[in-house]
């Protein structure tokens, strides 16, 4: 860990210990301002640009003909990838996905997949082809809490995504929203991320808080269900702390859901 991040860590922890407050003055259960802009990318079948505070994440959803998995014939496929772009942060490097971008993509994917919100059975094109839903997470500006920004951007992009028309005669995809149909969605998943440090647990960590963070917990919710979970970093959570986070994730669900639906 660099000397700057050691100092940042100390000041974040000191502020919590002496003032009982977060470094940016927020309450422990408060998100930073969240903005969602849908349809930002016209070349994608669905897209959304989400900012949480100064964190900025763009998600593009492409819908392309694809081969189904051999054990799921006739079912559409979902694929999620995340890029921590080098322009987003000084420590993001070029090259193949690392464990952080893989974790980000897989946690977002897990929420969408396990809540079963995309009706993959309805994505058959013909006997050979199905529609593939390709969700690409582009991190543009990193100021903490990529999980929630990416999950919200992915969800918002899916709500406005369309399935293009397939011209069977010419074997061509007609990428015209007016001729397509909306992507069939069954619900909205929302993810809430909590950071544990200095004996406190707070929602939506900013970058300085992530530097001081001892433990991280992400909870995915759809209506009355917990649909995904991921704990990371060293610190342990007691069962009580974990369920308190689940309750808070339930409490934030409606607000985040409205933001995703826009």
């Amino acid at each position: 860990m660099s000397i700057i991040s050691e100092i940042t860590k100390d000041s974040v922890l000191n502020y919590i210990a002496t003032e009982g407050k977060r470094i940016d003055g927020r309450g422990f259960d408060d998100y930073r301002e969240i903005k969602v802009e849908k349809g930002f990318i016209k070349s994608a079948e669905g897209s959304a640009l989400v900012s949480i505070g100064k964190t900025k994440v763009l998600v593009g959803v492409k819908v392309d003909p694809a081969e189904p998995f051999s054990d799921r014939p006739g079912e559409g496929i979902i694929s999620t990838n995340a890029e921590l772009l080098p322009l987003a942060y000084k420590e993001f490097e070029t090259g193949p996905p690392n464990e952080d971008s893989i974790e980000l993509a897989r946690v977002v994917d897990r929420g969408i997949r396990s809540a079963d919100i995309i009706d993959t059975a309805s994505l058959k094109i013909n006997e050979e082809k199905v529609w593939g839903i390709f969700i690409d997470i582009y991190v543009l500006d990193y100021d903490g809490n990529l999980m929630d920004a990416a999950a919200l951007a992915a969800m918002a992009a899916l709500t406005e995504a369309y399935i293009p028309k397939y011209d069977e005669q010419n074997k061509k995809v007609i990428r015209d929203r007016a001729q397509g149909k909306p992507l069939p969605l069954r619900g909205i998943v929302t993810e809430c991320t909590f950071a544990k440090m200095g004996g406190k647990i707070m929602i939506d960590p900013c970058l300085e808080e992530e530097m001081a963070m001892e433990g991280r917990l992400t909870i995915g919710i759809m209506d009355k269900y917990v649909v995904s979970g991921q704990k990371a970093e060293q610190a342990a959570f007691t069962q009580e702390e974990l369920f308190a986070c689940i309750d808070k994730a339930f409490a934030k669900h409606e607000t985040l859901k409205k933001l995703a639906m826009g």
Binding site: E99, D116, A232, Q234, F237
Partner: protein
């Protein structure tokens, strides 16, 4: 086949199991909902590794080896105040029905990261500054809950390596089939069930060191699942301690467990 009629055909995770997952309270391998598969733990199974362990959990076969503390490679990764931990969880290409590709993939990369965090919590890192501790977990035969079996093996391998740790860790999966909460998912229950939730507990205070989850569970189901997992963790700790004691009592020494 009157019994089979009771089995619902709807499986939300997609696809259908060839075998019914729950019939009259019995699971596809005959277990009760809250019954763990047999688990065996052996210590010191490798010659060259500093510490090692082998775990069988049902049909899972997992071997763990620990190297270190040793010099950091590359050197600029080293931390002047504490050891760094490298953890690698991989599945052998022959461990599943279909041939897999050898080495790490996206899934194993993610799991290796969160498993590393478990052991960063357990090891007294500040005792070994500027070094690295390597934990390798190889799944040789897979039948669901492989990351749990891997963590259970690695915990014992670390102790066997003589590396100072705060505690043992036990991991077990809980989930849901046919709307029933179940303990220790085997492959079919993971693939075709409604949820999979691996949890790792520290031995003494039962704090949660690893928690992952997919599927759909209500809050009530989660609480029930946690209860089952905590009980199972106690059983695993017992097996781990027995295995460690057996390994060190070989020379005829009497081992008294402390506090």
């Amino acid at each position: 086949m009157k019994l089979l009629l009771k089995v619902s055909k709807v499986n939300f995770m997609g696809g259908k199991s060839d075998v019914p997952l729950l019939v009259d309270g019995k699971r596809c391998d005959g277990r009760r909902v809250d019954e763990m598969r047999p688990i065996t733990v052996s210590v010191g199974v490798l010659e060259k590794a500093i510490g090692s362990a082998y775990v069988e959990l049902g049909n899972n076969k997992v071997i763990a080896g620990v190297y270190g503390p040793k010099e950091c490679i590359p050197k600029h990764h080293s931390d002047p105040y504490r050891a760094i931990v490298k953890a690698r969880y991989t599945m052998a290409p022959f461990s599943t029905d279909e041939h897999g590709r050898a080495g790490p993939n996206r899934r194993s990369t993610e799991l290796s990261k969160v498993i590393r965090h478990v052991f960063e919590n357990l090891i007294f890192l500040e005792v070994y500054p500027r070094t690295q501790i390597e934990i390798y977990m190889e799944v040789l035969q897979a039948d669901g809950s492989t990351r749990c079996a891997a963590i259970n093996a690695a915990s014992v391998a670390l102790a066997n390596a003589g590396i100072q740790v705060r505690d043992l860790v036990a991991a077990v999966s809980v989930g849901k089939v046919e709307n029933q909460v179940i303990l220790d998912l085997k492959r079919e229950e993971d693939n075709f069930g409604q949820s999979d939730m691996p949890i790792a507990f520290a031995s003494r205070n039962k704090e949660v060191l690893l928690y992952q989850m997919d599927g759909k569970l209500t809050r009530e189901e989660m609480e029930k699942a946690f209860g089952m997992a905590r009980n199972a963790a106690d059983l695993i700790f017992e097996k781990q301690r027995e295995a460690l004691k057996a390994a060190y009592a070989k020379d005829g020494a009497v081992i008294e467990e402390q506090g």
